[in-house]
Amino acid sequence: MIVLASLTILLPFAAAFAGMLLGPRLSRLLRPRKVEPVPGGGPATTEQAWWRAAITAERSPLRNGPALLACLPLALAAVFAAIVAFTVWRSPGARTGTLTLIETGSVPIRVGLQADGLAAVVGLMVCCVALAVQVYSIAYMAKDPRYSSYAAFISLFTAAMLLVVYSGDLLLLYVGWEVMGVCSYFLIGHHWEDRANSRAAVKAFLVTRLGDVGFLLGILALGVGAKSFVIEDVLARLSEMPHATVTAAAFLLLAGVAGKSAQFPLHTWLPDAMAGPTPISALIHAATMVAAGIFVVARLYGVFVTGSGVLTLLGVLAVVSMVGSALAALAQDDIKRVLAYSTISQLAVMAAGLAVGADTAAIFHLLTHGAFKALLFLAAGSVILVTGSNLLGRYGGLRRAMPVTFWSMTVGLAALVGLPPVSGWFSKDAVIEAAQHAALHGDPEPQGWFSATPIPETGPPPPSITQFHGGALKAYAEANFTQVNWVAPPLPGWAAWLVYLGLLLTVALTAAYAVRLWLMTFFGEQRGDFEPREAPKLMTWTVAALAVPAAIMGFFGGGAEELRPHVGSALIALALAGLGGGAAFLLWNRDPARDPARVLGPVRPVLERGFYVDELYALVIVRPVRAAARLVVAADARGIDAAVVGAAGAARRLGGALRAPQNGNPQTYLTGLLAGVVVIAAVVVVFL
């Protein structure tokens, strides 16, 4: 079991090294014909050359060394992850395994993994999305001269994410957490010829790193408090630790979560991160890495529940993030930025779910979101590829030329909005229902993995075959129930209402921007100058394959009580979605050639720039740091070093005073000598 989980991590890891070092060599071995590389690569190259290359790559992916090295180990890893998930579902409970114990002189680090329900399902999701992205990239990046390193970094990223998921030790988790960050940096900056991409990559890394400082400190606080970094031990000893420590640790962890999951106020890197190639946005900045923050909250839910006030803060941040970024998404003109802001908004929905105590629902939304957002990004990639532009204003009328992409994207957008019966509806409804319950009744529904219905003493009941995902989650909950029982404390009334209303508002806004995106891309007249056609098959198939889970995944949740749709909340949400979507449609219908966002008027620039948060940070953080840097250099040179050099100068001046008599005239020296003799003689005569 644990061996399989560790293989799941090690396979992509080994693939990354192999791809980095041997990829191109393997290509040469398999395909002696030389393909001339084009600088820049990707959609930026000329259309015709790219098209030919994509078709070649599509026809002969088996001769593409880096692609083979990337996809085969990952496929194998996905199989292993599936086996792990299946085993955990058949007989629930956490499996742990320890490779070794590293003595640090204080709290030891346990290099070990933990495979339980949560890890198994998220791990499987990660493997599947990563595999889809790798396959898609074969065609998308066919002509890129650096495809080899690109694929290798995706492999490394996947390994890191799986390490986060399966890790049984907080520090091991942190290792994966940071390696993901650096892979994200390299992949955003993949087309580094353009300075803008390079800047976006640096920004993404630094902003998340700022949050990670808090994360690391939180881990250290927990580890020292519990005298162990093992996640199970930490959760088991929460009650023995001082309350203040747990609260502080929870707030510190929250900083890391906000950074990684792009929540307010550390969200600014995500829209810029869209500078990376589109498959990267799909994998890292939509489905997996940004979800890691939510995953960690769920993993350490006990810490957040125990620390007082943490969930309230999480809820408030989530509301700000979800409403703000949904508004910003309304005004964007770049299709990827729309999706990026939508990602922030959806992650905030998960965070809101966690805040109101609906952790199962939040993870369920994480899974469905992983599927439909990856789908949306990959489909957007196909559209960008065909039209050669990121801008919504250049699309239009793509419905007929790109039927597969159109239908897939329709499914994805429906899931995003939360229309029945696609997956997003189930998961979002579960979150809204929980929030509604918290707002109306004041305390969270008895649900979640740790607070499931009472378990008979005899042990967990055998799960039934029909409950796959939800079943696994629930089984996990039951297996763990005997250890700890976390009940999320009720949010304060105002916070619960805020979360609930925020969620409802977000539903309406989501519908509005989704409908705007859908209409402007696929309907109306063609506005840009391009030849409409379907993307290469390797890409469309991948997108279509992702549409299947995006459509039907919701039914898997039916096995768990709290994940079944509720009529009341579902109707309210649907009505609001209809309102938002309808408004967008009416505006568009008035003049299909123009952007419905025009009605925002003077507010639009504010929304488009994301409420000028970037500018604020530049003013408050970046510029003072730079000023401080200049100050330090000046102080170093004029203060500290000047003191050192000044000491040398003082010594020289002192010496200068003493060497004044040494003027080179021997007669002066002799005079001194003689005077000295006379003085000595006089002293001897007088005193002796």
Binding site: V107, L220, V625, V632, V633, A648
Partner: protein
């Protein structure tokens, strides 16, 4: 016996180079090969010391040699190693070997390879001797032997401003050495012995509080100059910037470690009361150093100077670890030493290679697009930078993380709140570290190649000798980062012993 051999081989080789060129090894190439062979032999001896070392009891002094040296004043010729010094011995032997390997194909500007080789060999004697000496005066002798060759290397083969930098280096460190000697003699005279193992075993018993406080501040200042600790760091950027590539590598890779090693080996166990008295100050200066170094790096425009200032920040983490006076903190310091030696050594090699190829180390003049013009060089530079900014899974992370862990729960006698503040500030300094390395990478490796460079013709590819010098460092960085147990297992037990079983 093995350590006598370790120091004797380079010493005898250096003496052999005094024979006039006509009689022995005519020609620079022969001398360069000789250097490689001698340092290779030294590395082999170091490796055999590792195999002879009993890893079951790393806290015990092993492979000792203990002879009377000057019985009249109680000096002994006492060499030996335990888990604290063994990794550093290996690092020194390895880095010196790699430096000779690099020099064989890339001699420093200014020729005189014979003199250069001889000086580096003498340097190696001093460095290795410092890490194996177990008598205070012997330690001091080796500590000082290092200075003159390094001074000469900077002053003769250095870049612009080399003489001023060399003077500053030698005068500053000599000043520190004077204080160090005074502190050591104070301890030696009061305790009645100069044997480090015996003094360490006493844990300061027999010394009054006042003597310990004075001795620690004297020795601490001596080592802090070498480390270097803020605000005694200003010799370092000048020396690094002016020194030739190989000089910078050894300076950053090994010389700085003598300071922190001395703190751990000499100052801490000999005067524990003094250490407890001064630890908050040491921690304060360490944390200021972390932030100061990082901010200074953000505003640098010269590649070598930036890497030099980054050393100030990294050694700040090492000093912070020592200041906590906990096993985990001292472990962090030792780990940080090794990691910094590997990574910064590599960075200086790369900076030298960049300067060789582009003729400048100025970030603005370099322009951008190094990933286009010299992809392999730029990739290794990226790797080294990422390692240096403390990415988990590479060597740089563990030292920093353990230092923070130590600071979160320092020794029971130290003010905890103060150290928690130090920890938070130090952790923020780590973000700044990331900022300046990424800024540097974005500046020179990303972006389009400037037109002036395009017309200047292709950049020389990475040569086989350069690979030979760099790849061991890359591999070790990965190995130590992915499997920190290799190092921590060796150091934990002796560190506990040094701190009095704590």
């Amino acid at each position: 016996m093995i350590f006598l051999l370790l120091t004797a081989i380079p010493l005898l080789a250096a003496l052999a180079l005094l024979v006039p060129a006509g009689r022995f090894l005519p020609g620079d190439a022969a001398v360069a090969r000789f250097g490689v062979a001698v340092s290779g032999a030294t590395l082999l001896v170091a490796l055999s010391a590792v195999t002879a070392f009993d890893f079951g009891a790393p806290e015990r002094m092993q492979l000792e040699i203990d002879r009377a040296w000057a019985p009249a004043i109680g000096l002994r010729f006492h060499l030996g190693a335990d888990g604290v010094s063994l990794p550093l011995i290996l690092l020194t032997a390895l880095l010196t070997f790699l430096c000779f390997l690099y020099t064989a194909k890339h001699p420093p500007a200014g020729d005189r390879v014979r003199l250069f080789t001889a000086l580096l060999l003498v340097l190696e004697v001093g460095l290795l001797g410092t890490f194996v000496a177990l008598d205070l005066v012997l330690f001091f002798v080796f500590f000082e032997v290092v200075l003159i060759p390094m001074y000469a290397v900077i002053a003769i083969w250095g870049g612009a401003g080399r003489r001023a930098a060399a003077y500053k280096f030698i005068l500053y460190t000599l000043l520190g050495s004077g204080l160090l000697l005074a502190g050591m003699l104070l301890v030696g005279v009061n305790a009645g012995t100069l044997d480090m193992t015996e003094l360490a075993a006493r844990h300061g018993s027999g010394l009054t509080h006042g003597v310990q406080v004075t001795a620690f501040v004297l020795m601490g200042l001596g080592f802090a100059v070498k480390a270097p600790m803020w605000p005694l760091h200003t010799w370092l950027p000048d020396a690094h910037t002016a020194a030739p590539t190989v000089g910078s590598v050894l300076l950053a890779g090994v010389l700085l470690k003598m300071g922190t090693y001395g703190l751990v080996r000499v100052a801490l166990p000999l005067a524990p009361d003094g250490a407890a008295f001064w630890a908050p100050w040491l921690g304060l200066f360490a944390v200021i150093g972390i932030v100061w170094g990082s901010l200074a790096c953000l505003a640098q425009t010269d590649l070598k100077r930036m890497i030099a200032y980054s050393s100030v920040g990294h050694m700040g983490f090492v000093l912070l670890g020592i200041a906590t006076l906990t096993p985990v903190g001292v472990n962090a310091a030792l780990f940080g030493n090794i990691a910094h030696g590997l990574i910064t050594g590599l960075l200086f090699f790369l900076a030298g290679a960049v300067k060789d190829r582009y003729g400048t180390g100025d970030l603005r003049e370099l322009g951008g697009g190094m990933l286009t013009s010299a992809p392999r060089l730029a990739s290794i530079l990226t790797f080294a930078s990422v390692a240096s900014l403390g990415l988990p899974g590479l060597a740089g992370f563990w030292g920093e993380m353990l230092a923070l862990l130590g600071a979160y729960k320092p020794h029971a006698d130290l003010p905890r709140t103060t150290f928690v503040v130090f920890m938070a500030v130090g952790a923020l300094g780590a973000v700044l570290t990331a900022a300046y390395f990424l800024r540097m990478l974005a500046r020179i490796t990303h972006g389009p190649v400037p037109d002036a460079r395009l017309t200047a013709g292709p950049v020389a590819a990475v040569s086989r000798y350069e690979y030979a010098a760099w790849i061991p460092l890359v591999v070790l960085t990965l190995l130590v980062g992915l499997w920190p147990k290799t190092l921590l297992d060796v150091t934990t037990a002796p560190v506990r012993a040094l701190l009095g079983g704590g």
